[in-house]
Amino acid sequence: MLTAGTGVFIVAAEPLRVVATTGMVGDLAARVAGDRAEVEYLMGPGVDPHLYKATASDVRKLQRADVIFYNGLFLEGKMQSILERMGQGGRAVAAVTSGIEHDRLLDPGDGSGHPDPHLWFDPALWAECIPVVVETLSTAAPESADYFAEQGKRAAADLTALHAWAQATIAVLPPQKRVLVTSHDAYGYFGEAYGFKVVGLQGISTVSEAALADMARLVDFIKANEVKAIFVESSVPHATIERIAADAGVEIGGELFSDAMGAPGQMENGYDLGTYDGMVRHNVTMIVEALQ
């Protein structure tokens, strides 16, 4: 809008409507968008992205969004193809992981070319998703491009600081104690970044339940490596890990967040589990305390 006479342009720009799939992607978008956008995300606390069911209002949010961000690498399953087609149809839709070099991604061992999508547990790598967010937002609102670039730099600095904090916190664990046993393969990037050997019981897919032989092998592994504690995840059923903990005679170190963040405002040790920052700090603190 233009107010004549004063010689000042007042841009009464509506904030951009940004919709993200997971809370982690929403957090990244909100860091960059600052106060120039309203960011909402679809998959709430405890929701396994593979099992997410859309509600009636989710589709309305997606239709009205100015910009849509998703994780990509098939984390959202079949929803990804809908989002891709919306992007091809001219909507501002971006997979935040689309800018990451392919050799930085973890291939889950079988060379199938279907990389592990759980990038966010390495904050330094997660920070490399920022340029895509900056670029997409700037295309949607070119007048704020400088602002988004500035916010992007700040976000990258914050994530780098978080990474440094995690490194410092984990430094108290000697390398032989860095063994992370959990329900499914969500912590590959975490292990890579902080020198953990990561053993997931279930593989990435949640369709097949753990085989008996896998369970027995895992119990042997835990005993042989004198692992002090193993972990359950917030979005995966606990029963099998509890059974293995009993069989191997180790304790459950606690509940880690994997595919979804906690509820907003759920405080623990002074950090909010409903934020990306709080989730990472919770996981790192819990792992270090239990394995020490």
Binding site: S57, V59, G77, K78, M79, P108, G109
Partner: protein, 307 residues
């Protein structure tokens, strides 16, 4: 404020129309399933598709819609053929044959996942089942300059047209074979081939509906419209008409309910469809009760009631 039938009609109108097309296609085929006591075929196919998905993935090394659709379709047809073969060649009845076929196929799928693709997220929820709420977000199909609708809606409409065409073409054969196989055979109809034909059409309907709206809606709509119709009539033609009416009302009610409660629209349609079934059932009970009351005006001594 969300108002599905005015401001947001361009969104929820497509969803309701899609619900109607899916429920009609499923309901029409479902009538024959109910007559053949195979109403849980949808559930059976939903489990049977897993090995098809894994094999399609191993061959194409892709989780794209095309490969997954073909794999699921092949597995669905294999399941229906297997069920029929077990039922015909042994003394095992249809329900048990369905149980054997789908649990075995699902187990083979789980085996294949653990052997070959444990590190790839590959399950029907993730790679096959669509979501009815996302239908309006799909690209629109235009034909001769006219916007027909979202891709999967147009595909579902085509499937429905084929189903309706086949029912018209083979109505007499289906009618006879569904109620009396011996009579069908005597009049020169081959009920076995007719059945395999029906089951192939069924697989196409189920898998394409899974692909665009997800499992629960399809499984329910194979049963609810036909079951509701069977409470009201014995005549096949009338059953079809009632099934179409049931589909329309449950699609409309389902979208309204889903928007009102802000929940999954597919699940809301199923609840709406079940509510219609319950209403019709209550109506039938009421009518029977009234009739009995009418008869009781002149009480008959209990001893004289013929057994």
């Amino acid at each position: 404020m969300v108002d599905p039938w005015t401001v947001d009609l361009s969104l929820y109108g497509w969803i309701a129309l899609m619900g109607f097309l899916v429920a009609t296609a499923c309901g029409l085929v479902g009538n024959y399933l109910i007559l053949r006591r195979m109403a849980l075929m949808g559930d059976a196919v939903s489990h049977s598709v897993l090995p098809g998905l894994v094999i399609a993935f191993l061959f194409s090394s892709s989780r794209g819609t095309g490969a997954m659709f073909l794999g699921a379709l092949a597995a669905g047809i294999a399941a229906t053929v297997l069920i029929e073969a077990i039922h015909r060649k042994t003394r095992v009845k249809q329900d048990a044959a369905m149980g054997i076929a789908f649990s075995t196929l699902f187990a083979i799928g789980v085996l294949l996942v653990s052997l070959y693709s444990e590190h790839v997220d590959l399950d029907a929820d993730c790679v096959l089942y669509g979501e009815i709420a996302f239908v309006p977000l799909e690209p629109m199909v235009t034909w001769l300059g006219v916007t027909l609708g979202p891709v999967s809606l147009v595909r579902m409409a085509a499937v429905l047209l084929v189903v309706v065409g086949l029912i018209f073409a083979f109505y007499k054969e289906l009618l006879v074979a569904s109620f009396d196989e011996a009579l069908a055979r005597a009049t020169g109809i081959n009920p076995t081939w007719l059945h395999y034909g029906l089951m192939s059409v069924l697989s196409v309907v189920i898998v394409s509906a899974f692909e665009s709206v997800g499992a629960i809606l399809v499984i329910a709509m194979l049963i609810l419209p036909g079951a509701t119709a069977s409470l009201m009539t014995d005549r096949l033609g009338v059953m079809h008409a009632i099934a179409v009416g049931h589909a329309a009302v449950s699609a409309w009610l389902g979208v309204s309910l889903g928007v009102w409660l802000d929940c999954s629209i597919g699940a809301a349609m199923v609840v709406a469809g079940a509510a219609i079934f319950t209403l019709v059932w209550a109506g039938a009970v009421l009518r029977r009760w009234q009739r009995r009351m009418g008869h009781d005006v002149e009480p008959v001594p209990a001893t004289s009631v013929p057994r």
